[in-house]
């Protein structure tokens, strides 16, 4: 550990030394350009205006005919509401291990070890603690096992990370891969028998699949760098991923799907990308019908889009006044809501839970995570298995918050040097 600290200290000193000779002489050129540049008006970041009437007209006296019309409209509205309720109630439930379930224990990692957290008291119990750096616990969808990442070497970070699987109680810990370079994206197959993960060779992401017993490790060559992979629910016939464009020779960025045996590569995204940052933060709905992503362009604010996998229709979720962008979508267990981050002018962010049908701009939950040297930042966030709250990590504050989806005040469930949390899903 001392050696690592020496290296990083020396690195910081060298960076300062190396940059000391810089004496910029182009301030005048900058100021000439800024004089010729018109400032944006302060209100221009608002993406839309909602008209607000400040003068409320006096209500006119209604005639008998008007009353009859109102009653008729009310009856029709009640009938429509009843039909909607009937349709929603008869909607087929998602097959296990999808759909709402009971909340189990919470796992998190801190200081290189894995902890079990009591969501009620915030008490932490070490579950996996070794001399190696261990982090990123993720429960399987049935909640019986979890995986985590472990440094393959106590010092040499370039030796990579390996994938380790354990039972939910921390027993039967076993590494299922050797050290993998650039291992940073992992997803359990719906049946819990396989794990797809991302590795990187010279920075170019590649899909890999391994059985949970460590056998059958194989890469999928899709002919381009990839990122953000997910098994397609509910039964995992395909793996959905973001195809990246890292160099000019790569095909344009987009969202794709491929079968676990490498066959059947097909596009999911149905429009041309704005630029290489488009089609980001890919998430798949638990019923496998929708893919959400963050759209981006050179002069476009971030926005959350949804692609209907049956029709290919791509639609954007509505943005709220004052927002400068939205991104990072994640679906609720029932697939009817979506949580995402909303950005503001000062680069602060706040979580929002919104309906996937786009009928409104959603409900803000939890505090802002302002950007700044001492301010909190909102990072990883997931719905609880029962779908009633969102677990969010405010990294700068070093807290995990449980935030009810109705917007009521949340609670801090864990404090300390925390990282990503994963909730155990128990049978409903």
């Amino acid at each position: 550990m001392t050696a690592i600290h020496d290296f990083e200290r020396n690195l910081g000193a060298w960076l300062r030394e190396d940059s000391e000779h810089r004496v910029p002489d182009h301030l005048e050129a900058v100021l000439v350009r800024t004089i010729a540049t018109r400032q944006r008006p302060w209100w221009s970041s608002l993406r839309r205006w909602l008209p607000v009437d400040v003068a409320t007209p006096r209500a006119p006296r209604l005639s008998a005919g008007a009353w009859r019309a109102i009653v008729a409209i009310a009856v029709v509205a009640l009938l429509i509401a009843a039909l909607i309720a009937l349709a929603v109630g008869s909607r087929p439930k998602l097959p296990a291990p999808f759909g709402p379930a009971r909340n189990g224990v919470l796992l998190t990692s801190a200081d290189g070890d894995i902890f079990r957290v009591n969501p009620t008291t915030g008490d932490r119990t070490p579950l996996i603690a070794s001399s190696l750096n261990e982090f990123g616990p993720t429960f399987s969808r049935d909640g019986t096992k979890f995986l985590f990442l472990q440094a393959a070497d106590p010092i040499l970070s370039s030796a990579g990370l390996r994938l380790v699987v354990a039972n939910a109680d921390g027993s039967d810990v076993r590494a299922i891969t050797p050290g993998v370079d650039g291992l940073d994206w992992v997803d359990w197959s719906p049946d819990g028998t396989r794990i797809a993960f991302l590795s990187r060779e010279l920075g170019r992401g590649r899909i890999n699949i391994v059985n949970v017993d460590g056998t059958g490790l194989h890469p999928l060559d899709v002919g381009r760098p990839v990122n953000q992979l997910s098994w397609l629910p509910p039964d995992g016939p395909e793996i959905v991923f973001r195809g990246e464009q890292q160099i000019d020779h790569d095909p344009p960025v987009g969202i794709f799907a491929v079968r676990p045996d490498g066959s059947g590569l097909r596009p999911i995204s149905t429009r041309q990308p704005h630029d290489r940052n488009d089609f980001n933060d890919v998430a798949v709905s638990p019923d496998g019908r929708l893919v959400a992503y963050r759209a981006a362009g050179p002069d476009e604010p971030f926005s959350v889009h949804l692609i209907d996998l049956q029709t290919g229709k791509d639609r954007v979720l509505p943005s709220a006044p004052g927002s400068t962008g939205e991104g990072g979508p994640g679906f609720s267990p029932d697939g009817r809501s979506i949580v995402y981050l909303r950005w503001f002018d000062d680069a602060s962010t706040q979580l929002v839970v919104a309906p996937v049908d786009g009928s409104n701009v959603g409900i803000a939950i939890g505090p802002h995570g302002p950007f700044g040297p001492d301010g909190p930042s909102i990072n990883n966030y997931i719905f609880t298995p029962d779908g009633t709250a969102v677990l969010a990590n405010y990294d700068a504050e070093k807290v995990d918050r449980l935030l009810p989806v109705d917007g009521s005040p949340g609670v801090v469930v864990a404090r300390g040097q925390l990282a990503f949390g994963s909730f155990q899903r128990l049978a409903p």
Binding site: E8, N10, W14, L15, Q39, A347, F371, G372, N379, N380
Partner: protein
């Protein structure tokens, strides 16, 4: 003092912006140089970041966040410059950086030339992570927000960047020769 200048600049006071830019340009230029390793590209990146800062300053809600906001604009500008540069550059073939065993002396090596060779081998995105964290002293959550990536990605990118540098130092120490320059991502 800075807050007052930012407030004035937001209202279109160009002299106030000139003072802000004058105070920041040396720091920005150093960071851009570290990320891009090309003085002309660095100057372009700084100019573009400052022009954009002037243009968008009225939309900055909290003047106290000016420095952080400016860093974000700079890094984005650097990465844009690097991508533009890539179109005109032939990247050299890379040698494998997998080093099976790390000798104890490697992590304590702090030779300036070796650090520079290891650093130059990184691609601009990786250099940006190191510059933000080890030069501008941003905490990892701020690095993540600055780069517009999740905190986990920021951590793994920093972890990987430092690992690649260490591996380059190790390879350098083993061969006793310099390492061919070329970006590693």
């Amino acid at each position: 003092m800075q807050r007052d200048l930012v407030e004035r600049a937001r209202r279109g006071d160009h002299d106030a912006f000139a003072e802000l830019a004058g105070a920041a340009i040396s720091r920005l230029d150093s960071a851009a140089w570290l990320i891009l390793r090309d003085p002309e590209q660095a100057a372009d990146a700084v100019q573009n970041a400052l022009v954009r800062a002037w243009r968008d300053l009225p939309t900055l809600r909290d003047p106290a966040k000016f420095d952080a906001w400016l860093h974000r604009l700079l890094v984005r500008s650097c990465i844009d410059e690097a991508r533009r540069l890539r179109r005109h550059r032939i990247d050299l073939e890379l040698t494998a950086l997998d080093v099976p065993v790390l000798a104890d002396h490697v992590s304590t090596i702090a030779d300036r030339d070796q650090l520079e060779r290891g650093f130059v081998r990184l691609d601009p995105e990786m250099r940006a992570v190191i510059v933000l964290h080890h030069y501008l002293d941003l905490a990892l959550p701020e690095v993540a927000v600055t780069l517009g990536i999740p905190i986990g990605t920021a951590k793994s990118r920093l972890h990987r960047a430092l690992g690649l540098m260490r591996a380059a130092l190790e390879a350098d120490a083993r061969t006793g020769t310099g390492i061919a320059e070329g970006p590693v991502s």
